[in-house]
């Protein structure tokens, strides 16, 4: 009957909607249903984070290996404390790795670049990257440049 046709079409409509939202979730926003669980968090302290924001990329040789989870002030040392979520399959960051805040292009977004050191042991959940280099702040740079000029 007609009602049957309506039921079928409405069901079809709902399925289409669900497929579309799944497509948006998995294909478009790259949401991974299970991968999040394997992530681990490491911390790093920076003198100055410049324009770094949460959700910024964390890279190793330019390849993304995680993202910035949160940025706070370390109350004891009065420096920035950055928490990073590192993908679970990246288990080869040595304990003496270093982290730098870099800028994509001249004026682009800021992100963290990690370089691996030489130690055997690798970073675990909750550990710290000790060797860090702050963001390059344009004003400081210009200031230093002028100061050098004057003192010369």
């Amino acid at each position: 009957m007609r009602m049957r046709w309506i039921e079928i079409m409405v069901g079809f409509f709902m399925v289409l909607g669900i497929l579309a939202i799944l497509g948006l979730a998995l294909n478009v926003s790259g949401l991974k249903l299970s991968a999040k669980q394997g992530d681990y968090t490491v911390y790093a302290r920076f003198e100055n984070i410049g324009g770094l924001t949460s959700r910024a990329k964390v890279t190793l040789s330019g390849v993304q290996i995680g993202e910035v989870k949160s940025i706070q002030i370390d109350k004891n040392r009065l420096v920035a404390l950055v928490a990073m979520d590192i993908h679970g399959d990246v288990d080869y960051l040595s304990v003496d790795s270093s982290a730098k805040i870099l800028t994509a292009g001249l004026l682009g977004e800021q992100y963290i670049g990690v370089s691996v050191g030489f130690e055997e042991a690798s970073l675990k959940e909750g550990e710290y990257i000790r060797d860090t280099q702050s963001a390059m702040v344009l004003e400081d740079l210009i200031g230093k440049f002028l100061f050098n000029k004057v003192s010369n």
Partner: protein
């Protein structure tokens, strides 16, 4: 002078009274004691008329808008050597803005006007009165299923619009403009956030669905029951809901994405 002030006062009072009546209608049809068992087949039928029958226009418009976005994005981005980012541009524009807004505008024109005309005609031919005299509340029987159907259909249509649009953009970028498929999707996935972008877009679509359906149903229910009155009410539905969607979009965008 005094006359003009009086006219202004009267029209303000009229507006306020009709806003009050529309609120009352919404309250009485949705909140006061629903009867789900009777409602379900009626709801299904309305989702069919409001949602399923809008599918074609939504899919076709989504596809073309996505393709145009891909083309335009490419011609702009290629100047900066960053045409790889076209996927991210298409996806963000669609998911955050165009899908909810354009779907709502099309929805107002396709489903909203039909709702107004249908209910208005029921009023003009005394079908609503005769329901009342049979002891059936037209707010529950006629208005409520249409409201719910609109609330449900609109986000689904918007999601379909976004997905079809992104597909259209991908088609143009990858097949025609020759952008590398992997970087197209990877760039998109890196920049689109599920809860920040997709869910906010769906919330927008839902809000627009509520507003458009509410306006459409109320204009029909409250119209002057003549052919002229119905045609005016139908026009008002399209105009008011388009304005409401665009205005609300600004507010919602400022709330959702303003601080990024």
């Amino acid at each position: 002078m005094l006359d003009q002030i009086a006219t202004l006062g009267r029209s303000t009072l009229d507006r306020l009274a009709s806003a009050g009546r529309s609120g009352q209608m919404l309250w009485q049809s949705l909140v006061a004691a629903p009867t789900p068992v009777v409602m379900f087949p009626l709801l299904l039928k309305q989702i069919y008329f409001i949602g399923v029958l809008s599918l074609v226009i939504i899919i076709v418009s989504g596809l073309f808008i996505g393709m145009v976005l891909g083309l335009q994005g490419y011609t702009i981005l290629v100047d900066y050597g960053s045409e790889q980012a076209v996927g991210q541009m298409v996806a963000l524009t669609l998911v955050r803005e165009l899908a909810p807004v354009v779907t709502a505008l099309l929805f107002a024109g396709r489903a909203g006007s039909a709702l107004t005309a249908e209910i208005g005609l029921m009023k003009a031919t005394e079908q609503l009165s005769s329901l009342e005299m049979i002891g059936v509340d037209p707010l529950r029987r006629i208005v409520a299923p249409r409201l719910w159907a609109g609330f449900i259909s609109m986000p689904i249509l918007a999601v379909i619009f976004a997905m079809v649009g992104i597909f259209g953009g991908a088609l143009i970028s990858i097949e025609w403009l020759g952008i590398f498929e992997g970087s197209f999707w990877a760039n998109m996935q890196n920049s689109v956030d599920f809860s920040g972008d997709v869910l906010n877009g769906v919330i927008k679509a839902f809000v627009f669905g509520v507003v458009v359906t509410w306006i459409a149903v109320f204009q029909g229910y409250d119209c002057v029951p003549t052919s002229e009155g119905i045609s005016q009410a139908t026009t008002r539905t399209v105009v008011y809901s388009s304005l409401a969607v665009l205005g609300l979009d600004f507010v919602l965008t400022a709330l959702m994405f303003g601080d990024i």
